[in-house]
């Protein structure tokens, strides 16, 4: 039993985000105007998976007590790159996908190298590199355009076996291939340790630099996966500063809702995924209740404030006020 108690203590944030998402999605489903179908899930999933990938990426970095403000720009850059190279026959497209993923990983690696070896603060570094990535995206696509292998796009944004949205499977694969091994590896644990107390991690002889580097690089990789999906959905590449900025901000919101501490060391990418799902459900809810889309940012802000406030409710129970500051 006590094992369960410790598990819950560790996963409280994730559990909260999961429940919030289930609640919001249930309201959405019950009020959905027409009859439910696999198509409803498919559309909802496709919209949510994009933000979920970017939020996973952000969570990896936030765990090390860093932040990646270039994550949206990486997404847009890889979107533009994808609209050039993921084309043609199967082999060409496959190589193109590898190229896009490598480009994203390189973006993340660049952040990591500057932050680790330049000893610059993540916030400053990623604002600067984000501008660079966006500049590159503009050079690639001064005006929206390009295209992508359409068979592949249809397959990856469609359904598998007529029921399960393919995008959800890709997200699941990203969790199993990137997150689970990360979390259970020495590197991943060093990332948690670095976020929690870098000095202690150093004195314990943990591989701090490799851990940070891996976090930033994997974040870039996941953002590139998101960029690929954006290309699949829109069938075009667009260097949009607006969407780059909103993906960056939404990823931070999702991470917070998902119970990942911005101070580092606490939370999980799974929490961030449910945080992203919950955040995305806001738009759907407004849709089923016939609210003008203009209201969306306002509602998103209110939900974010509420989620953070609920997360901070524990502070009222604290009776030793010194614990507020820890």
């Amino acid at each position: 039993m006590s094992g369960l108690r410790y598990w819950y203590a560790e996963n409280r944030g994730t559990t909260f985000a999961f429940c919030l998402f289930v609640l919001m999605f249930a309201i959405y489903l019950f009020n959905y105007p027409s009859s439910l179908s696999a198509n409803v899930f498919q559309t909802a999933a496709n919209k949510a998976v994009l933000l979920a990938l970017v939020s996973m990426a952000q969570a990896l970095v936030v765990l090390t007590a860093g932040i990646d403000l270039s994550i949206g720009m990486t997404l847009v850059l890889t979107n533009c790159l994808g609209s050039w190279i993921v084309t043609g026959d199967g082999l060409h497209s496959a190589l193109g996908i590898v190229g896009v993923l490598v480009a994203g990983a390189l973006c993340g690696a660049l952040n990591g190298i500057i932050i680790i070896y330049g000893r610059l603060q993540p916030i400053v570094t990623t604002i600067a590199t984000g501008a660079v990535f966006y500049g590159l995206a503009l050079l690639l696509r001064p005006v929206p355009g390009g295209s992508i292998n359409e068979d592949l796009a249809d397959a990856l944004t469609g359904k598998v076996a007529g029921v399960v949205p393919a995008s959800l499977l890709i997200l699941l694969a990203a969790v199993l291939i990137v997150w689970v091994p990360f979390k259970r590896s020495t590197i991943g644990r060093a990332a948690y340790a670095t976020g929690s107390s870098e000095a202690a991690a150093f004195l314990s002889g943990m591989p701090i630099r490799r851990a940070k580097f891996a976090s930033y690089m994997l974040a870039g990789l996941l953002a590139a996966l998101g960029g690929l999906f954006l290309t699949f959905f829109t069938d075009t590449g667009e260097a949009s500063l607006g969407s780059a900025n909103s993906y960056t901000l939404f990823s931070i919101a999702a991470v917070v809702i998902g119970g990942v501490s911005l101070l580092g060391g606490k939370g999980s990418a799974i929490g961030a995924i449910f945080g992203a799902f919950a955040f995305r459900s806001i738009g759907d809810l407004l849709f089923v209740f016939n609210v003008d889309a203009l209201w969306q940012p306002l509602f998103q802000g209110v939900i974010l404030l509420l989620a953070v406030a609920i997360g901070a409710c524990g502070l009222f129970r604290v009776r030793n006020r010194l614990e507020w500051f820890q």
Binding site: Y6, R184, G195, S196, L203, G205, G265, R319, N320, R321
Partner: protein
């Protein structure tokens, strides 16, 4: 390993290290033999910490050599030193608060399966190594953040053992332990010695050194002073080597010694039952039935002007919480607090330090609760009394400078400049800054939470003198200490806490090590062996 018993298998020679202009280590020598416990003695700033940091790969020496098994070695990082079998158990800092105990113990080298961490094996092994460290009561799944300080230090020791070291370095590793834990740790260390490990041991508690060490080395000002077999030098000689001058009485004379001796000789309880007999009628501070959560229950005592009242007992019996409750940090306290005979409610530290109460708290952890480490000595000294050195919200720099200079002088704070970051000072001087910043306000009630933890002998003595002087000038002092010698030497009365209640009140000649330990462990006097002070 036994064949190494006579010859040192690890040697340092001519090792020097400077930080900026300050020489921390000057041609240091050290020889380590297996199966021996080697105590390193010296004041803070004597170079012990730097010596250990060089050995364990945290810093690299400027010159000098290290030899392990006759081969020259150098360690670029703690990981390299660990791999060579040299492991340091730190006083603080090395545990990661958000990870579990098991994750911390196997932080750098967890058991793996298919390349991933095997959590089940890790938990099993953590249980085993915790048991080996004498701390089987700690759940390996608990988060380190949720454990009390004394348990954290046991985890720290277990973590050191998990590396299977040849040389285990304990840097003040017993400073936050309870008496019962210290006894267990002493047993554990003796067993490790029998297994052939070499143990390097730093402690400011002389009785631990005496109980454990086979060999002692004294450092002073970064230099090796002398190595000798344990027991071949008297305490006084050792302390003279450490401080480099004649050792005088460690504790100042108690002001009330004569007076309380009169009262207490016939009836020790008289002074408590009838304070009006020999003392001013109204105590500065009195509290009744103070309770908070499950940690404090029915606390009642009174504190007079000019009195030093000690708080004793095992670590974590509510002493810190009592100080925090008085200082307005804890919410939901029951009971009454009276200042000068009038009931008050102290809702926050702001209220506690206000003139009508005039309270000051020297917190337990100077690095996080007492100081802003990167900020200057001047600013740190000013923080508690900015209102006293400003007019209309603007800081009067002349007044600030005068007050700061007076405090630097009064407490003999050693710093290159008042503009140096306080983090660059030695531990003892940092602690003086924490105390001084409150003295600017001239508090009437001074609460101290283990103020001499981990600071050097010389500064400790200065603090004892200071406390007595403040008391003589009329301050009322409530003094929590984990060091029995301090309670005996400094306090007029001692309250011993046990599980959040006042178990015993000792006054005057009753304050002896045996009585303190017996009541701390909730035992009747006589079940404690006087020679070692360790419960049977």
């Amino acid at each position: 390993m036994q064949q190494h018993g006579e010859q040192p298998f690890f040697q340092m020679s001519g090792v020097s290290k400077s930080y900026g202009g300050a020489v921390a280590l000057d041609r240091a020598e050290l020889a380590v033999r297996s199966g021996r416990i080697h105590a390193i003695l010296g004041e803070n700033g004597a170079g012990k910490s730097t010596l250990l940091k060089v050995m364990s790969g945290v810093v690299q020496p400027d010159e000098g050599t290290m030899q392990l098994d006759g081969r020259q070695v150098s360690f670029a990082s703690p990981a390299e030193a660990n791999a060579a079998g040299i492991v340091c158990v730190y006083q603080e800092l090395s545990l990661i608060p958000d990870l579990s105990v098991a994750d911390n113990i196997f932080a750098s080298n967890p058991p793996r399966r298919f390349g991933m961490i095997d959590r089940r094996a890790q938990r099993r092994q953590a249980e085993a190594v915790l048991a080996r460290a004498g701390a089987a009561d700690i759940n390996p799944l608990a988060k380190v953040r949720d454990l009390p300080l004394s348990r954290q230090q046991m985890v720290e020791l277990a973590k050191g053992l998990a590396h299977e070291p040849r040389i285990l370095i304990l840097d003040e590793a017993t400073s936050a332990l309870t008496a019962a834990d210290v006894a267990r740790v002493i047993d554990v260390l003796k067993r490790l010695r029998a297994e052939g490990l070499a143990l390097l041991f730093i402690s400011h508690r002389m009785h631990e050194v005496k109980a454990l060490a086979d060999e002692c080395t004294v450092y002073r000002n970064g230099r090796h002073v002398m190595s000798f077999e344990a027991g071949t030098r008297s305490d006084t000689e050792v302390i003279e080597m450490m401080i480099g001058r004649k050792y005088q009485h460690a504790f100042p004379a108690k002001q009330s010694a004569a007076r309380s001796a009169d009262n207490l000789a016939d009836n020790p309880a008289a002074a408590l039952a009838d304070p009006s007999a020999s003392r001013p009628a109204t105590p500065v501070l009195a509290c009744r039935d103070l309770a908070w959560n499950d940690t404090l229950q029915g606390i009642g005592f009174s504190l007079q002007r000019g009195e030093i009242l000690g708080l004793g007992g095992l670590d974590g019996q509510g002493q810190r919480e009592l100080l925090l409750a008085l200082f307005g940090v804890l919410r939901g306290c029951a009971g009454t607090i009276e200042i000068d005979g009038k009931a008050v409610s102290i809702s926050s530290p702001v209220a506690a330090r206000a003139n009508r109460i005039g309270m000051a708290l020297i917190p337990e952890d100077r690095k996080t609760e007492g100081l802003m480490l990167p900020m200057s000595v001047r600013e740190n000294l000013s923080f508690a009394a900015l209102d006293r050195m400003s007019s209309a919200g603007i800081i009067d720099r002349d007044r600030q400078q005068r007050l700061v200079e007076r405090m630097m002088e009064l407490l003999a704070i050693k710093s290159f400049s008042v503009d140096a970051p306080v983090g660059s000072l030695s531990g003892g001087n940092q602690q003086k800054v924490v105390i001084a910043k409150w003295l600017i306000r001239q508090p009437r009630i001074l609460l101290l939470s283990d103020p001499t933890r981990g600071i050097d002998v010389g500064t400790k003595q200065e603090i004892y003198q200071l406390l007595r002087r403040l008391a003589d000038e009329g301050a009322a002092i409530l003094f929590y200490s984990t060091d029995y010698d301090e309670l005996i030497g400094c306090c007029d009365r001692v309250l011993v806490l046990y599980e959040g209640k006042i178990k015993k009140e000792l006054a005057g000649p009753e304050i002896t090590e045996q009585n303190l330990i017996a009541s701390a462990l909730d035992l009747p006097v006589g079940q404690v062996s006087p020679s070692t002070g360790v419960a049977l």
